[in-house]
């Protein structure tokens, strides 16, 4: 039976916890990005991330610390993502299981680029006009809904969605340009 780190003796448990925390904190943002790119709903992604975190902690005793933590964590996250979508299979608007599995595999291969893409995105956001930065703060930072922003800005919800769509498209192009300049993606 797999030993549960939580059931170890007090001193061992503290050591394991600190070791886990150190490894986990270094990989956490990429695991979260991986999950969010496959589970776009924020609340659902929270759930999947929490479940992943718990499985990682409970399985930590089986992890070979001489190996890289991130691929192991991403493997657990992949499994949790697939489990999540499996529970949604009854909904007619869910992608097929085969497609979700393919996307999950494709996303694994792209996780290594997450840090570079985040850095490029940060720089691109810096160059946005104040109104678009305000939109990012409200929509992504404060998690305000498009309805709330529409009311606040006296716009239609459609206009807010469109503004988000246009902004993300220009940011995507900006990120690609920056990465290409750095030789990180083919032009």
């Amino acid at each position: 039976m797999t030993p549960d780190p939580a059931t170890r003796r007090s001193g061992d448990r503290t050591d394991a916890y600190e070791e886990f925390l150190g490894l986990f904190s270094r990989s956490q943002s990429r695991v979260q990005a991986y999950i969010r790119s496959l589970v776009p709903d924020a609340a659902h992604a929270d759930d999947v991330f929490q479940a992943t975190s718990l499985v990682l902690w409970r399985s930590f005793a089986t992890f070979d610390t001489s190996k890289d933590f991130l691929p192991w964590a991403l493997g657990v996250a992949r499994h949790q993502v697939l489990m999540f979508w499996r529970t949604k299979r009854r909904d007619r608007h869910v992608f097929s299981e085969a497609l979700i599995a393919t996307l999950a595999d494709d996303a694994l291969g792209r996780a290594a680029m997450a840090t570079d893409r985040q850095r490029a995105l940060d720089a691109c956001v810096e160059g946005l006009p104040p109104r678009q930065r305000e939109l990012i703060r409200m929509f992504y930072g404060e998690n305000q809904s498009a309805d709330t922003i529409a009311a606040s800005w006296d716009r239609t919800v459609h206009a807010v969605y469109k503004a988000l769509k246009v902004m993300r498209k220009s940011l995507l192009e900006c990120v690609e340009r920056r990465l290409a300049t750095e030789g990180l993606v083919p032009e």
Partner: protein
Amino acid sequence: MHDQNMPNDDQPNDDQYRDAHERLLSLTADFLHGTLGPAETAELESLLVTDPIARQAFLDASLLHAQLAATPVALGYEPIPEGHESSPSPVAARFQLAESGSEPDTMQSRRHGRKNNAALAAGLLLAAACLTLILTESAVPRRAVPDRLAVPAVAPTELNELHYDNRQLPITTVAVLHDDGSQADAADTPATADRTITPSTLESTATGMRLTSSDGADVQLEGSSRFGFASGDSGALYSGSVRARVKDPSKTFSVVTSNLRVVDLGTEFRVSQLDAARVAVTVLDGDVEVQSRVRLPVCYWPFDDRDKSRRGTDHRGMDQRVTTDAMQSMPTALGDALQRCDGIVGQGAVRFDNSAGSFARVQGGTSEKVGLGTLSAAEGISIEALIISRWSAAFLDYDEIYRKEDGNCRVLLCFQNDGMVNARYSEPNVAPGPCLSFGLHLAGRDYKELDMPLDGRAGRPAVADLTDGRPHHVVATFDSFTGRKAIFIDGTLRFEHAYPEGTLIVSGGPEPAFIGSMTGRENFHGVIDELALYDFALTADEIAEHHTRARRGETYFGPRPTRPDSARWQAITRITEGQTRIFNSRTGLAAE
């Protein structure tokens, strides 16, 4: 979209490729917004299944969407418009554990804006509110659902193991905002028609704002004003001036200003916030009644009916012991493992053994929608209890004191130690470790927890201080009129965070409240007594007084309140047509 298997003579030209790429990005954006219909879902799936380049573009767009939440702009690490950003404020208080007699320490300023991994992670998971209906929702565009995602109000069946039910439950509609051009700015997009409003704080410009409450009152914000529309029959004035007219004689509308309430009696009236302490009430037609707040709890469980413990029936038809709260006579089922014991104050208390059967489940105070019900609070809240804690403080061990889990509009007060797993909820950011957590959903800000580190530093108690086998007085408060969210231990302020004034709580709903548990999990270990819930923020002086009384073995309030029909407000005076009176909004006394 490009198909690698396509013969060369059928290869799409550049224009076709661009069009296909645009279409893919458009579908992906709708997917991320949750506005993709079934036909478009099938179209997108078709593109993704057949084309690896399309999948790459899809994942890049999705990743960018996820990573936007982790940018410095989203995380608030850059200057933003005044009045929008919360700021942690140092608490100049002294740490003095009443029971242990520890030497006081001076509190230190909190560091703000740490760019640690926890914060980045927190930001990442705060990403995009647009992603809601997506695959699991119908094709109904989200704009049809005001502010909130409509998810069936059924009991959670797929809670994750860390027990956060993140559903967004249906929320009550409080008003219709009329767009008559009065608040239009230099928009490059046409203004919208009337819009429904859920509980939120509205800020009008110099031209004002006009609304109709869901109960039919005409409400006008005059000039630059800030008004918290908390329900269909009332709202809170934070600044400026509001004018209300009630057409239906069977309805009322009231305006709350801190400790004062103005209730129409079939009339038209105006309330103006003159300064931080004074309000002017003018009656334009008919009469109004001015009332002051009854500063007693909404619900209060003294657990003193120890010898009168009786049998009752819970929601599953099972026999269980029952106690009642002293204010509303609300029945509260006691779990099988919950034991009656000697009171910290009074005759009785309840002892929790950390097992699944040790809980107290409040029966009542719920409502069909978030924003309603006896156990909802909007303008302020206090949770007060006497506890003897035996919390282990182990990683992922949670001990609940009080929790009402209405999706992400939950209210909780509990001990936590979950490292960075739930760091995204913390506001302000704190270092991982054991903490006492006070969670609320704040309008426009989502669900946030004030996680007071139990580290024995800067005036905060350590875990050992609160698990020393002695009783401790614990109070958590939030006041929309000051924006302050705070935790008091043994009569003294220990930790707080400041939000913008006028930030409303969004709470209440269909889920039952639990004392010492979260729907039968995360059970408390120790004794809870004298648990009280208020729909306003107790002041520091009141809390100190309650603590002093509790140490003397008395109830918080002196004589035990036994007011099953207790009103939340008491009349001060009546004002008639043509009169203007000025009041102190905190004391309720005339201030002319």
